[in-house]
């Protein structure tokens, strides 16, 4: 009998399949994952596939926008065929950051309803706040775990717009984070974040 904390290999229960939306033949969730790290791309792809999601993985924000048809080029494929139900993006990427990608997506009438989740190994309160305020659904700490992704996909398949109160439990409280140090030249320069307020639970509605 497994006790709390005991870990077994390959213990994924057979019925963990939130992306698959089993029953009534509804389409599986299509997730677009964006990360500049090769290792992380492989892991997130496997995580999502293990939950029976359809996955597209790209290495940059600009590639993501290309895929979503937001790069100004006319896509030859009808937009509906590419329909993306969730975007998961790394925060720190060269070129376009996850935050900048988030802004572009939320600034587009065609795409703003798609929930966007930002992932980062750094828990900087100002960064988290900024992403949530810009409309990110959630901010996930890396390394991302199966349980995080599973919770996300379940949230989406249940028609997440109504689930606002549940998701606010996932906000990073003050205890989870280290304050960024404003004097460091290498921290995000756009935030002056020595304030210690906890992140505001402002949520954006995501479409059904």
């Amino acid at each position: 009998m497994a006790s709390a904390g005991e870990v077994l290999r390959r213990n994924l229960p057979g019925n963990v399949d939130p992306c698959g939306r089993s029953g009534k033949g509804s389409p599986e969730l299509h997730v677009l994952a964006v990360d500049d790290s090769l290792v992380d791309r492989k892991v997130i792809e496997k995580l999502l596939r293990s939950l029976s999601c359809k996955v597209t993985v790209v290495e940059s924000g600009s590639r993501a926008l290309q895929f979503l048809g937001l790069d100004g080029e006319k896509s030859s494929v009808g937009f509906d065929d590419l329909k993306v139900n969730l975007i998961m993006t790394d925060y720190s990427m060269p070129g376009m950051t996850g935050y900048e990608l988030l802004k572009k997506i939320k600034g587009s009438s065609a795409l703003r309803e798609i929930p966007v989740v930002v992932m980062s190994s750094e828990r900087i309160i100002a960064r988290i706040n900024r992403c949530l305020e810009e409309g990110a659904e959630e901010f996930l700490a890396k390394p991302v775990k199966l349980s995080d992704v599973e919770r996300l996909t379940r949230f989406l398949t249940r028609g997440g717009a109504e689930e606002v109160s549940k998701s606010s439990k996932r906000k990073f409280g003050i205890d989870d984070c280290e304050p960024s140090s404003p004097s460091s030249p290498l921290c995000d320069s756009s935030s002056s974040s020595s304030e210690q307020s906890s992140p505001s639970p402002k949520r954006s509605k995501c479409g059904p």
């Binding site: 492989k42 892991v43 496997k46």
Partner: protein, 155 residues
């Protein structure tokens, strides 16, 4: 050697990697994701990590060798190494990177050089141990055995 003995040896070896802090729970997460549809998943991810890390270590060596060190660049490399080591559960490499970044923030070249040495050591150590782990697994499989489920009481 009998399969059961090989399996036992493999199990003990795996446990030692966790006990010594070389690997953490994230590695277990990867093992849990591996299944029949992708039985080489962990090895593939670990191989990517090796390739990625080798390149980053080379870049770091070169960056710290400059007359005038670009700490922002060095920090960026360390950040990437920290990320990938964290994603596969290479705990000691990750922890060394955390210390390394504070030296970058302080623009302390000597501290950075020392950390680079240490991170290289940690990296080569975990690489060697993971390669041995993989060899032990192969031996078990070649002898007709299956890779035993690993159980731990606490982490």
């Amino acid at each position: 050697m009998e399969v059961a003995l090989m399996q036992r040896r493999l199990e003990d070896y795996t446990k030692s990697l966790f006990m010594e802090g070389l690997l953490d729970a994230q590695f277990l997460q990867l093992q849990q994701l591996q299944d029949d549809s992708n039985p080489e998943f962990v090895r593939e991810v670990v191989s990517l990590f090796f390739e990625d890390s080798q390149k980053l270590l080379n870049d770091l060596t070169s960056a710290l060798d400059q007359q005038i060190v670009d700490f922002r660049k060095v920090d960026s490399y360390v950040h990437q190494l920290k990320g990938s080591s964290s994603s596969i559960g290479a705990q000691r490499v990750k922890n060394t990177c955390i210390v390394f970044r504070t030296f970058c923030e302080e623009q302390n070249a000597e501290g950075c050089v020392r950390c680079l040495q240490q991170v290289k050591q940690e990296y080569y150590l975990v690489k060697t141990r993971l390669e041995t782990l993989y060899r032990l697994e192969q031996q078990v499989v070649a002898a007709g055995g299956s890779i035993p489920a690993v159980e731990f009481n606490s982490f």
